[in-house]
Amino acid sequence: MNKITATIIKEWQLMRRDISGLLLLLVMPAALIIVMALIQDAPFKDYQELRFDLLLSDNDKGSAAHQITAGLKKSKSFRIIDSLDGKPVSEEQLKHYLNNGKYKIGIVIPAGVTAEIVNSANIVVNDIWKKANMNAHLPAREVRDQIYVHIFFDPVSKPTFRNAISSALDKYITYSCSDILMQRLSALGKDPDAAPDTANQDKLMQVMKGIGVKEEPLNDKAKFSQNLNSVQHNVPAWAIFGMFFIIIPIAGHLIKEREDGSELRVALIPNAHRFVTIGKILFYTFICSMQFMLMLCIGFWVIPLFDLPPLYPGAHSWLLFPVSLFIGFAATSFGFFVGTIFKTMNQALPFGSVSIVILSALGGIWVPLDILPHSMQMMAVVSPLHWSLEAVNQIILRNGDYDSVISPLSILLVTGCIFWIGSLLANKNRKPS
């Protein structure tokens, strides 16, 4: 134990004298998580979170158009602009502004939409009434050609954006049509001269509204739930990336000790090597863990200074410390492996940095795995960064407890052991200099 402690003390003495190296180890990942969280903030906000300016040209002026407009105005997704310079937006103006990119979306409600919707609703209601062997009395005519609400996009809009907006608009228009249908149904059987039975009508509308889609929490931890956003993804992801970048100083440190002969000193002392290795692994694992915890603190206290939401650490945030130790062990062992199998810095450093970039891309550090192709998602299992992120996400996104991280932590432990044993074997077979 004394030999391990001696090694930890010696590593700390060496590290604290390398102030620039120590700062790089802490400042660079901190800068990385802040920059990446800021850059990826907009792409991470889905279309439900963003509010778009929507140009609206109403050529109908009827109740249906009014309901569509009112529905859209209530929506959190759109900011309706139906007049410019105090005048209603014309179809020509709308196309002009979309074409020059000033606005992204526009809809034109053609004349006659209300009449057509009301007529269609009346036909449906009369038909239902007739099937009930009762006389229908709502005015109706033959259905004409369908009249569409036209939607226009800025030509540079992406297809995914168009689909999302079209779906959202379709929802409001369908809802408005249903609303009119409900009104026609509720109007049946009433004395046209009597006062409207608003209570009954509202009840019917309430029933219809109850049939739909409503998001429900998965479990009783809903109050802790936090949706994936730029901070929730980027802070842990790039903190893990920073932890794995410790392979660069570790590999460089091992090669330097080999080149300057200090490793030889340890090799000359019987039984010292294994204790020295354990001491180094423990030391760097702890440094990795401290680095990770510091990055989380930055996510918690510094990130909000940049108008981003603070990092949410999950319902069992204490688990992040043991998780960081496992990640640190895997990263440190990988560093030992790289530092052992390569003979020179010129070999180890490019390999180390490029391998971390590749493993991070495969592991979902750059972008969440969910949006990658299936083949890439399958390849993620080879990346220790993937399992690291998986363990952290279990805690901060899914509010997981101890059980939920056992699987990824076991994989990290095995990965770390494989790298460690590999580096011990490689070191054993090395010809002394």
Binding site: K3, Q13, R265, L268, P270
Partner: protein, 248 residues
């Protein structure tokens, strides 16, 4: 226990090497002597030292120190033998004292033992005023002396030195050689290599000449000089046995 070195028919062939590093090398080193292992570059000196330290396994043959097998009894050998490598095997960003404290702890010594032994050795080798300086700030001679101290912390009975005076100034060399004589006077055995024949002639009780991985000759320098034709110095003897062709 007699702290002797017994080397029998050592053979070692590194993978990919053109010629074997050791090719049936044998020799014997008695206790309480300073013995020079002399040979041109590539003669097999370092491989021989590495085998004695247990860091390299011979293909065939045996190396025994105090009757213990260097390959299979490394822990025992490590406790009775100290090795001063040619490289400065110290941590450059640590002070000399921090280096010695760390190395002493790896040898399993208590802090008080380390402090007392280090104090004596630092004073004897003229580094007592520089103990708290980083090794990187040392001159070449100071680094060599610190390198020797690090190998003596566990008070070995046998000391192997691989070119301990390479690249040092005259004063440092004199101090190192005086120290080795004093160390021998304590009953210790010293095996050392050097390319400086005058130095070996001056300090060694015996020399062993090795070339191409084979034993060439051995004996006290004066005896070898007198018994070899047309030789007045150890360097003449060395060139007589190893030739004048370059060993690049």
């Amino acid at each position: 226990m007699a702290y002797t070195i017994e080397i029998n028919e050592l053979r070692k062939n590194y993978a990919g090497a053109i010629a074997p590093a050791l090719n049936g090398f044998s020799c014997h080193v008695e206790q309480n002597l300073i013995v020079g292992l002399l040979g041109p570059n590539g003669a097999g000196k370092t491989t021989c030292f590495n085998i004695l330290c247990g860091m390299v396994k011979p293909d065939t043959g045996k190396a025994l120190i105090a009757g213990r097998n260097c390959t299979t009894e490394r822990v025992v050998i490590g406790s009775i033998m100290g090795m001063v490598p040619q490289q400065i095997a110290l941590f450059g960003n640590l002070t000399a004292m921090e280096n010695f404290r760390y190395i002493g702890r790896l040898y399993g010594l208590s802090d008080s033992t380390i402090t007392s032994r280090t104090g004596q050795l630092l004073e004897r080798l003229g580094l007592d005023k520089h103990a708290d300086k980083r090794i990187n700030a040392y001159s070449g001679g100071m680094k060599r002396r610190a390198n020797i101290i690090a190998s003596l912390l566990h008070e070995p009975e046998l000391l192997l030195l691989d070119e301990p005076t390479a690249g040092v100034d005259v004063q440092s060399r004199a101090m190192i050689l005086d120290f080795l004589k004093d160390y021998k006077a304590q009953g210790k055995t010293i095996l050392y290599t050097s390319h400086l024949m005058d130095e070996a002639e001056q300090i060694c009780d015996e020399v062993i000449i090795i070339d191409n991985g084979k034993f060439i000759t051995s004996g006290p320098p004066a005896k070898l000089i007198s018994e070899t034709e047309n030789c007045t110095r150890l360097e003449d003897v060395f060139l007589h046995f190893t030739g004048r062709s370059l060993r690049d």
